[in-house]
Symmetry: C2
Subunit: 432 residues, 2 copies
């Protein structure tokens, strides 16, 4: 089942030509050569005694095994390969009022796994390996606006998990810092307005995952009457976390089942780990090999929206993926990782039925430094308000956009998928 | 160094006689016999192959070993005994407007480790072992107001850690549920007003740990101008969590050093694990033996308060104890577990100097089902506003009381010690 083509062009919404030209020029100057290679033939990487795929420095990320088990019975529930990256990255956007209009300093960034290679990323997108220069490369530009302490007014700073079905305990800081000083543009960094970001959001594969995650925190969502109080929304997530009797432990990759061999690790029906060999461009070092996560299919993420007493509400769900650090996190109404639930199929059918209006449908990809052409179609569907009266399982809740964003006050609470949906709203791309 | 006697009587503030009479009568009818015994002679408990002290059912809590290590170097930082209790408990208070005045349904509860045995606890204080009846005892009274879903309006529901220096990943739900229905009092349960709770708060060892933790969430704190924005306060905790490169892993108790023998486990300079044999009373089952945590000294917790532009602010610090589930949590300005820092001593001296005014000083004890006479003196000291201008290390921050409470929006964020301080403020016991 597919939602079909994007409604972007139908509505005359498309990315600003100036942004597309900037990116095209950047790619022409810095494009990479990316070739697939086998995992067990990558320089600098090897399989250790436990079968784990690791880098010789012990840094970047490694491929391990993970077992989830029931806390009471100690029985293993499921096991499989997972990626471990202990580095906490900084995803930061500088914002500044220029000529009375708020601007955001965005970066043209080339990554080997990006469809189209170049995408718009935050001002800074750096893991500790990057800024400690584990690559042996140069310092990360603009990082001192964020670390060790923000040089400006912090507008958002939240610690959120990243793809807990693929990574174990991986999390990043999502920062927005407002500055007064003049920060000059460079070849790689440009000041964009929120209107430009809004229009970029209509375009497939343009705003990268990290941009979407940070933009989700823009304090632009109206606070209106809500079906549930803020305390009830918090209680909903607390309840699921408190009754969660599943824990996870890392084991050797050799201790868990996977298809394929050491050349390509088929981790599950959902993703595999493949190797690539990269050369060219102005990345921190010239030429390297690395593993990347490849999805087995284009995914579909759907957010249902309806009105309660005239106020827009979103149907969110909470899920506990194996690698999550603090248990349940918020996801869109329908998410690929939860597609097997009966309700998921029902909601998907509803979103695609004649009862619903698709107000957003765009392809976005996961971060190209760790994912290879991993595409998801993000859909927002307005459904009849009466849908809100249907009884729902405990894992679902109707909340206002501001309440969904409020959950980011806690650490490890809002998934990448849900933050992407929020960014569609915070940038004003879709006004519900 | 000691803060001396409580200022309670000096101010004429003391617990209501009706509450004291109720508790005295309850103790007379249900008092326990508690005798010390050796850990290795307790029926139902044994040391397993790894040296861990466990219950034969595998439930309640066990004594394990814990190692913390540096994520990069994998070097062990420290190791020692720790308690493991995977049960997530429910600490819940029902509240109801009676005759126009908000009342709270509180419980007279006997625990073997309580100084004075009986203290005022929440309406419900139950671990999953309790309400699954692992004791073989009766159902927990009033639990169905909270589980599986609250039967009323949720006012607070947050998941918070518990003594991360003693327990590994232990956490509880802190719930307040407002109801309209008539809920009759019983011998063990009484409706108290906030004024009565306020006066109880002046008295040593009267409101138990769980009551204090839940009352910290009362939505009674005024929201006023603050020195730092809410985003800056969130950023402060995020920053510490994001740069935390320490992780912890459970190991066998035999793998970590401790003094004493299997009769009494001297876990650290701070606490030991001892055995008690209990009989009598109306607890779920009659007669049992269990381990309890005993502090080696009466502790001192101090919260500094000052005004910023006429608005009260509190000096809080963030600490990462070995057993914390999500890293750094908020603590008072001076906390026993962090007493070794140079600033800690300086702040303590300041609080006790003639420059400061002690506005609160009361002894409270930790939960008597797991702690044996574990006493801490809680002190709130008003210091000159100029103190706020002193430069502080990254782990400290001046926040308003409402901002400190706001941190409970996230899971595992505010320590028992800091929640006790907040309860002094939310009950109106101290008005800054």
């Amino acid at each position: 089942m597919s939602v079909g083509s994007s409604p972007a062009t139908a509505r005359g919404r498309q990315a600003p030509a100036s942004v597309l030209t900037w990116l095209a020029r950047y790619r022409a100057d810095h494009g990479l050569q990316v070739r697939r290679t086998l995992l067990d033939g990558m320089p600098g990487w090897h399989f250790d005694d436990l079968g784990n795929l690791v880098h010789q420095t012990g840094r970047f990320f490694s491929v391990r095994g993970l077992e989830t088990f029931d806390v009471d019975s100690r029985q293993v529930i499921e096991s499989g390969p997972i990626l471990l990256q202990r580095d906490v990255g900084v995803l930061g956007i500088i914002t500044r009022r220029i000529g009375g209009v708020v601007h955001y300093l965005m970066q043209a960034k080339i990554e080997p796994g990006n469809p189209g290679q170049v995408q718009v990323s935050p001002t800074v997108q750096a893991t500790r390996s990057n800024y400690d220069r584990a690559h042996g490369g140069g310092a990360t530009a603009y990082l001192d606006w964020f670390l060790p302490t923000p040089s400006g007014q912090v507008k958002a700073d939240s610690l959120q998990g990243e793809h807990s079905a693929v990574f174990f305990h991986k999390h990043n800081r999502n920062m927005i810092v407002s500055v007064d000083q003049d920060v000059p543009e460079t070849e790689s960094h440009r000041w964009l307005t929120r209107t430009e970001l809004r229009d970029c959001m209509w375009q497939d594969h343009l705003l990268n995952m990290d941009s979407r995650c940070v933009l989700a925190h823009l304090p632009t969502l109206p606070v209106g009457p809500s079906r549930h109080t803020d305390a009830e929304v918090q209680s909903w997530l607390t309840s699921l976390r408190a009754t969660d009797m599943v824990e996870a432990r890392l084991v050797g990759l050799d201790q868990v089942p996977y298809l394929g061999d050491r050349g390509v690790i088929q981790a599950s029906a959902d993703f595999r780990v493949v190797g690539v060999q990269v050369s060219g461009g102005n990345r921190e070092v010239v030429g390297w090999s690395q593993p990347l996560v490849e999805y087995t299919t284009t995914r579909e993420e759907i957010l249902l929206a309806a009105e309660y007493r005239g106020e827009p509400h979103l149907l969110i769900q909470a899920r506990r993926e194996a690698g999550s650090r603090a248990g349940f996190e918020a996801y869109p109404s329908v998410t690929h990782v939860g597609r097997d639930s009966p309700l998921s199929e029902e909601l998907q059918e509803l979103a695609l039925s004649s009862q619903a209006e698709i107000v957003y449908s765009t392809l976005h990809s996961e971060e190209g430094g760790r994912f290879l052409g991993a595409n998801s179609r993000y859909v927002i569907a307005r459904v009849p308000d009466s849908v809100m009266e249907r009884p729902l399982p405990a894992g679902y809740m109707w909340v206002t956009p501001a309440q969904a964003q409020m959950l980011t006050m806690g650490s490890y609470t809002v998934s990448v998928q849900m933050r992407t949906m929020l960014a569609v709203l915070t940038t004003g791309c879709v006004v519900l």
